[in-house]
């Protein structure tokens, strides 16, 4: 792993991937990221944990964010949309590579 790519926790990886999925369909913000996570992982996830992780990833420089115009259906509040940064993409690729190598090491007769 390159020196400047910070190590990712399991949940952080999932949140980053959920941001990418949500971005593909439109904007990645709290609700869409939460929906992607719960729909694709089939896991119960705490809403607070998603917001907390998004905030932490932004502070780590793995996400960047921008705000949209406030709208009436949001009670006059702005939406905070996230984008995955280059270091995060590198970290995800690195993580994927490592995992694939490990799976390949097991071979076809692993029984898993």
């Amino acid at each position: 792993m390159p020196q400047d790519v910070p190590p990712l926790g399991e949940f952080e990886q999932m949140v980053l991937l959920a941001v990418l999925c949500a971005e593909k369909d439109g904007e990645a913000y709290g609700i869409t990221v939460f929906d992607e996570l719960t729909a694709r992982t089939k896991r119960g996830v705490a809403r607070g944990a998603v917001y907390m992780t998004l905030d932490r990833l932004e502070k780590k420089g793995l996400l960047s964010s921008y705000q949209t115009e406030p709208t009436a259906e949001r009670g006059g509040r702005a939406k905070r949309c996230y984008q995955v940064t280059k270091p995060a993409m590198a970290a995800l690729r690195e993580s994927r590579r490592a995992l694939l190598n490990l799976w390949e090491g097991l071979g076809a007769k692993s029984g898993i």
Binding site: M52, E73, R74, G75
Partner: protein, 875 residues
């Protein structure tokens, strides 16, 4: 809430996300969406709060207590609570219930008991009132004359005074008005609060005009005018050209500072200069005075200077002919003041509500105390369960501080969750409870779950955690490794400790006092309900209306005829009187010579249909004909008490009564009725024709329906709305509901104390159940040994029950002593009963015994079913 926990932009975006999601869900089910929104907001806030707390504790962890650390303690506590779901959920439920009820009450009484008045430097504000030294406590009267106020202002020029008068209305359309008060030009300077928008100009205090300049309250501006930005300058008049010109808006939550104005005015009017006759007549008392005293001035010295001024006014008093029918007190109060009193404004404003607020707050605090005691008992039991683990930790180097922290963290978690849940429930219940509040209670603040209530919840939570941690520490004070590890689960001696007895007995004592309060006030309300109002209640309705300023007798008759023709209506009457609205105006009829002493005889101006609508039959003489009462003949009907007091020992029929020089013949006698409220005994009534009044008006309609009529009131309301659009229907209700409203304060008190009494019983029941269940679970091995040695199931159950007797008996004894003192404060709220009513006492004690015995019986029966073989294999 989220803004406290994270930065503002993130908090806003989360709130926006949740709001958007709520609206999406609301399309399917609005209430489920609201519930979801509350739950999600709380969950996110809790996640942020716990994460922030753990983060901060990790950063600040001192080297000296590294054993485990805060974060690890919290994780350990969470795991440990998950393993004891019954304990965790019981404690959270007890804390949530106590906090919800206590926070609701605190939100309501905060303004009366704790919050400073919202005026500038409120400690310098005083209420000035006159009094009479020859009456007990120099009885102060609320109102003064303009001659008094002028003399007072001249006597103490360094004091700024403001004169106002309450109890007027200002018309804003043909059939609508605002309750109003007149204030002078010094009013806003004296209270130190100025209008939010606009204000009076000097010209507004000039000569009287048909259109009056008015400053409306913020609440009226929002609710009646939709917060319109162009409110200033709007002119609202009726067909006769009378009305108001809006010149300002008061700040939000402004409280009118005169005690006479407990039904708060909706608008302030500029006090015009009255006529010389009114200005100079010292016997016309209708004005209230507040004063702002300069700093460091002596209240007693100002009072004595004002007293001298009052004596000078007394010399100008007209000599009134001695009225033999007036009581001695009345003769004194018709004379000049010889005492002037300055009372702090806050005391005067809160005095009528203070006892009620204090009693409510005391029961709320009692419930919180009960919750904390309960939690302490449960937590102490849990600490005993964890004794083995804690002793091991101690043996491995854990200091006292470390172990104490471990206990405290667990308590903080359950108390914090319970408190947050309680505050959330209080937010939902507050509006419902506020709606039940009787009209006319001056709260000095709009009830809301605000920062002050949150702070109250925090203080209560901190106190509970402290008490509980200290108590569970007591239970753990012996930590010798060997005996604890050598013993299995045996802690039999400790479960019977004096501390445990004291803890349970205190809970039972507090619960008894609270249950008794509920029982007494509920019994009192039942007594009121059993009173006979004297008139027909079933199938009868009261409709309060506002008629246009010009609504002649013919129009009134047309309206009554229209109602009479609605299908199902069998009688209809008009009253120019309040009915079941706690109003007593008295009578202007002269007492005949030889009359006995009476209470407040009430003169009711009614139409001829009143007696049929109220179900009143003549007990002597006859009822009036339509011609007599609706066209105006000089006849009256009197009630039994009036007949007996005015013409003792002879018939009232055929005698005459004089009112304002006019003679009326008594043609019949009917039963007495409770016209003011269900809990006010009748002092007798005189019914006179409405048509005989100088300016006959209709204030209330009394409508009686056929017994078979189903839900007939809306038909009458619709008929009135369609045929008489210029008549405003203020309120339409069946008399059963009107009777309930007439005892609204009693109903609220009984409801409040009943709910608290019930909650106290629930809390004490759940707490005892938990404590005894934990104690029995610890004694599984002992029970097994007893049963192996021949004890029967019923013997074991009886043993467990017998062990609960000392705390229950001592708790009831202590509770009876405590209650004997506390119920004294309730006596003025009880109706025709004493605070030592045996029925209420017996039922409260019986229910408490039943609850405690049920709470003990469940674990006792469980213990009696223990299989000795399995029990002896434990550990």
């Amino acid at each position: 809430m989220l803004r406290w926990l994270t930065d503002a932009t993130l908090a806003d975006s989360i709130a926006g996300d949740l709001e958007a999601e709520r609206r999406r869900r609301a399309m399917v089910s609005p209430w489920r969406a609201t519930l979801w929104s509350w739950r999600s907001t709380l969950a996110v806030a809790l996640y942020f709060a716990v994460s922030n707390l753990l983060g901060r504790l990790r950063d600040r962890r001192p080297a000296a207590i590294r054993f485990g650390g805060w974060r690890q303690d919290a994780r350990h506590a969470m795991r440990s609570l998950r393993r004891a779901p019954w304990y965790a959920s019981t404690v959270v439920a007890v804390i949530a219930l106590s906090t919800a009820l206590a926070a609701t009450v605190f939100a309501i009484v905060d303004g009366v008991l704790f919050k400073p008045l919202t005026y500038a430097d409120p400690a310098a504000l005083y209420y000035v009132s006159g009094g009479f030294s020859s009456l007990p406590n120099a009885a102060s009267v609320v109102s003064a004359s303009l001659a008094d106020t002028r003399a007072w202002a001249a006597a103490v020029p360094e004091v700024t005074m403001s004169t106002a008068s309450i109890g007027t209305n200002v018309t804003i359309s043909d059939n609508d008005y605002l309750r109003a008060a007149f204030v002078d030009r010094y009013f806003f300077d004296v209270v130190g609060v100025h209008p939010l928008l606009g204000g009076f100009s000097e010209a507004d205090f000039g000569p009287a005009a048909k259109v009056q300049p008015a400053i409306v309250t913020y609440e009226v501006w929002q609710s009646r005018f939709g917060g319109a930005p162009d409110i200033i300058g709007r002119v609202l008049i009726d067909a006769g050209g009378e009305g108001a010109r809006i010149v300002g808006v008061l700040p939000r939550g402004f409280v009118y500072p005169h005690p006479a104005g407990r039904v708060a005015p909706e608008a302030l009017l500029a006090m015009r200069t009255p006529s010389a006759a009114v200005r100079n007549d010292p016997s016309r008392r209708g004005w209230q005075v507040i004063a702002r005293l300069p700093h460091a001035s002596s209240v007693s010295s100002i009072e004595s200077r004002l007293r001298l001024a009052a004596r000078e006014v007394g010399q100008q008093f007209p000599v009134t002919p001695d009225d033999p029918s007036a009581s001695a007190t009345r003769r004194i109060t018709r004379g000049p003041f010889d005492v002037v009193r300055l009372r702090p404004l806050r005391d005067v404003l809160v005095a009528p509500t203070r006892m009620f607020a204090l009693a409510s707050f005391t029961v709320a605090a009692g419930l919180l105390l009960l919750g904390a005691l309960n939690l302490a008992g449960l937590a102490a039991g849990r600490t005993l369960d964890r004794q083995r683990e804690l002793t091991l930790r101690s043996a491995l180097g854990g200091s006292t501080a470390t172990l104490l922290r471990l206990l405290a963290v667990e308590h903080v978690i359950v108390v914090a969750i319970g408190t947050l849940l309680g505050l959330a429930i209080a937010t939902l219940t507050l509006s419902g409870v506020t709606a039940l509040l009787p009209v006319g209670i001056l709260l000095l603040k709009t009830p809301a779950i605000d920062l002050r209530v949150a702070a109250f919840g925090l203080v209560a939570a901190v106190a509970a955690v402290t008490l509980v941690t200290i108590w569970s520490w007591r239970a753990l004070r012996t930590r010798h490794l060997r005996p604890v590890l050598a013993s299995s689960a045996g802690a039999t001696a400790r479960t019977r400790s004096p501390g445990r007895v004291v803890m349970m007995a205190s809970q039972i004592a507090v619960a008894l006092a609270m249950a008794l309060g509920g029982a007494l006030l509920s019994t009192s309300l039942l007594r009121v309900w059993h009173e006979d109002p004297g008139f027909a209640v079933d199938q009868t309705a009261r409709i309060r209306i506002n008629t246009p300023s010009t609504f002649p007798l013919e129009a009134q008759q047309e309206l009554l005829d229209a109602v009479a023709h609605v299908p199902g209506v069998i009688a209809v009457a008009g009253l120019d009187e309040m009915f079941l609205e706690r109003a007593v105006h008295g009578s202007t009829f002269d007492k005949p010579a030889g009359a006995l002493e009476t209470g407040d005889v009430e003169n009711l101006s009614v139409t001829s249909g009143f007696f049929a609508a109220a179900g009143l039959a003549a007990v002597e003489g006859r009822l009036p004909t339509r011609d007599e009462f609706d066209r105006g003949r000089r006849v009256v009907i009197v009630s039994r008490q009036v007949a007996a007091a005015f013409w003792p020992g002879r018939s009232a029929v055929g005698n005459s009564l004089v009112n304002d020089g006019e003679t009326f013949e008594v043609i019949g006698v009917v039963a007495d009725i409770r016209h003011a409220s269900l809990d006010r005994d009748s002092d007798g009534e005189i019914y006179s024709p409405n048509a005989m009044q100088a300016r006959p008006e209709l204030l209330n309609l009394l409508v009686r329906f056929d017994d078979d009529a189903v839900d007939p009131l809306p038909r009458v309301v619709n008929t009135l709305a369609i045929r008489f659009p210029n008549v405003k229907i203020v309120r339409a209700e069946m008399l059963a509901d009107a009777l309930g409203s007439s005892v609204q304060l009693r109903r609220f008190q009984a409801w409040l104390f009943g709910v608290f009494g019930g909650a106290a019983l629930l809390v004490v029941g759940v707490g005892m159940l938990g404590t005894i269940a934990m104690s029995v679970a610890r004694r599984t091995r002992e029970v097994g040994v007893r049963m192996a040695l021949g004890a029967t199931s019923s013997g074991v159950a009886a043993l467990i029950l017998r062990e609960q007797l000392p705390p229950v008996v001592s708790g009831i004894a202590a509770g009876a002593l405590l209650s004997g003192w506390l119920v004294g404060f309730l006596k003025e709220y009880l109706y025709k009963m004493t605070a030592h009513d045996w029925m209420a006492w017996t039922s409260a004690i019986a229910v408490l015994v039943l609850v405690t015995m049920t709470a003990a019986l469940v674990p006792a029966l469980r213990a009696s079913r223990v299989d000795p073989i399995k029990a002896l294999r434990v550990d």
